[in-house]
Symmetry: C2
Subunit: 383 residues, 2 copies
């Protein structure tokens, strides 16, 4: 990637920025939310509908795809974009996080991590070099350096040892990636909740030099306050001319708070996973459609939403779909939630451009915490 | 329904007919295939996409809907059409067939059938009058008389007793329905595989008088040859100016054969259920996408199909989706199969209008039985 053209900031409002990340497959408007397409598909969504919600980029999971259908197979089939019928950019993670959370019989060494597949028990080795090779075979537009996601909580010693390994792997990832016109490589800041370690990690990554910088090791149980503390440490140290990506985050208020601290990119399974389980995000906070109070609620999911999943169906119908375990329930609620997230991102981009991000965030947070009025009909609250 | 306007035949070719069934919610082009929306949703499909395949009418299942969400609730919520966001006509069955196949502790009497819900064990009574009441609460455009679907095989005595009960219930259904402008009621021919009983059943129904006539008690294990024999008996006895509906049928060659015998309407779970389990209907017969031979098959599902589910994805991708148990597999294959069925119906309507139904059927059957050429690449046949 020609670094000068990769990221451009159009406007700044406090620490928040709005701009464009440029890839060979198109531009990504920031702040950006990346829906998660773990196994080469955003669960319960047609790719056209994902794009129509306003998603400029998807995330694919290297761990899942290397095991099934296999990176070499995806390459033979023309790469991940053609395979899954998604023509816009794709960011892939390194596989490291999910090896640690999903694989069996993991053995971590300086070289990498040896593990057995959770699908068929087959043995695999993931090294920084192999991770970059796999991400290349997939045809990923933005690739991630292999790191170890430090578990939380960790002692200072544990966090330091883990971060230092990640920094050595970051260098090896950078060397394996080389220079690839039209593709980008991000490094990942580690160091748990320790200011000195986060600061040293940022320094080490900048010295190596990446097209963008991710903040990793968060959203692992530390809570929103500690997460924001880490962003308050890391973001000011990161170069202003490179995108900043907060991995695996989060709920709407996590994202708004992180944008205000200077984060440009996000990915999270929350909108899709919640949607499959009956939870919808709305202007006035999340609601759970499986609750009996919605059995005769003729209101749309969210009166403020323009998503067809919200405007064409009642809460009563969605409640029924989840009770009856119909595919259409997860399909509609996933769609609605992805639309909600992308609307939120679009509103933040506009607010930053117009220097009113603080006011937007305050109003958004107030609405989210307000909750909605109960349906006034008494019979609506019982099934 | 004003009977004179309900069904009009535009063209006849041998025993096959093409025409229009008129309802208050729009016209149904015949021969017509009705996708099944058992629980108020066509499984794994958006209503807009069902309509886009060319479906003019859906079938809803009275048994499922009376138990969940309940007919009175659907009525309070504005009727089934508004509830499920389907604005075209809906035909509902009487509930009788599924009471016998799904409910617990059934007790059949002259009055009706008492049973316990398979969902929560609650007790219900389905009579001809209650079935019509429920179908009215749902807002069904075409309603079915309550009958007993005679099991196969049945002795002549069993089949006669069962058919006679169904004819008494048909009369009670007719009386309960009365005259409803814009809505229609169909009677159901029973009598198992016995020519004399089928003939007597047709006579009894015509004497009562219905807006259309269904042939029931088929596709219950008797096989295609016996099913066609029954149609050869029943269709010529049925009035030419009323639509004929073959319930629960079927596979593509069943439908083509039945159209040639004078059937106008069909419903079946085959395209949707097969789609959820990885089977796709194609010009050259069904294929099972879970088969390892498709793991690297870059061809579309069916080169002859214009359905986005077929043109935008490879067999290799669909194979992966089913292996990975992604929602998108059933979503795409259901869509493809419904499109295939509606294309087949459209081709038959055109062939009948142009007096070439025999040639169409012969070519269709030859292609279906031909099967497709194997993928020439040796590596494509192993995973």
């Amino acid at each position: 990637m020609t670094l000068s053209s990769f990221f451009s900031v159009a406007a700044v409002d406090g620490a928040a920025r709005t701009g464009l990340v440029q890839t060979a497959r198109g531009a990504i408007r920031t702040p950006a939310f990346m829906p998660v397409g773990t196994q080469g598909a955003v669960k319960a969504m047609l790719p056209d509908h994902v794009a129509a919600t306003g998603a400029d980029i998807l995330l694919g999971n290297t761990y899942h795809l290397m095991l099934r259908p296999g990176a070499e197979r995806v390459a033979r089939l023309g790469g991940l974009h053609a395979f899954m019928n998604w023509r816009r950019p794709i960011l892939t993670d390194s596989g490291g996080f999910q090896v640690m959370s999903l694989a069996k019989l993991r053995k971590m060494t300086e070289e990498g991590v040896r593990f057995r597949s959770h699908i068929d028990g087959s043995e695999h080795m993931l090294t920084p070099e192999r991770s970059i090779e796999i991400q290349g075979l997939l045809g990923s537009d933005i690739q991630m350096a292999l790191d170890e996601c430090t578990p939380f909580p960790a002692t200072h010693d544990q966090a330091r040892t883990s971060m230092e390994l990640s920094m050595r792997w970051a260098l090896r990832s950078r060397e394996a990636f080389g220079a690839q016109e039209g593709h980008a490589l991000f490094g990942i800041v580690q160091g748990s909740t320790y200011e000195d370690l986060r600061s040293r990690s940022v320094g080490a990554l900048i010295k190596i030099g990446f097209d963008g910088y991710a903040v990793g090791g968060l959203a692992v149980g530390e809570g929103q306050a500690k997460m924001f503390d880490v962003l308050d440490i890391a973001c000011p140290l990161l170069p202003n001319d490179k995108p900043r990506y907060l991995m695996g985050v989060g709920k709407p208020l996590d994202i708004v708070g992180a944008v205000r601290r200077g984060i440009d990119m996000f990915d999270c399974v929350v909108p899709t996973r919640s949607g499959r389980h009956g939870q919808a995000f709305t202007k006035y906070g999340p609601i759970n459609l499986t609750n009996a109070r919605y059995a005769e609620d003729l209101r749309p999911l969210d009166a403020a939403s323009t998503c067809p999943a919200s405007t064409e169906y009642s809460r009563a119908y969605l409640h029924h779909l989840f009770k009856a375990k119909e595919y259409l329930g997860p399909m509609l609620l996933t769609w609605h939630n992805l639309h909600f997230y992308q609307e939120m991102m679009a509103c933040m981009r506009a607010a930053i451009a117009e220097q009113r991000m603080d006011a937007y965030a305050a109003a958004f947070e107030a609405d989210q915490e307000l909750g909605e009025a109960e349906d006034p009909r008494p019979e609506a609250n019982q099934e």
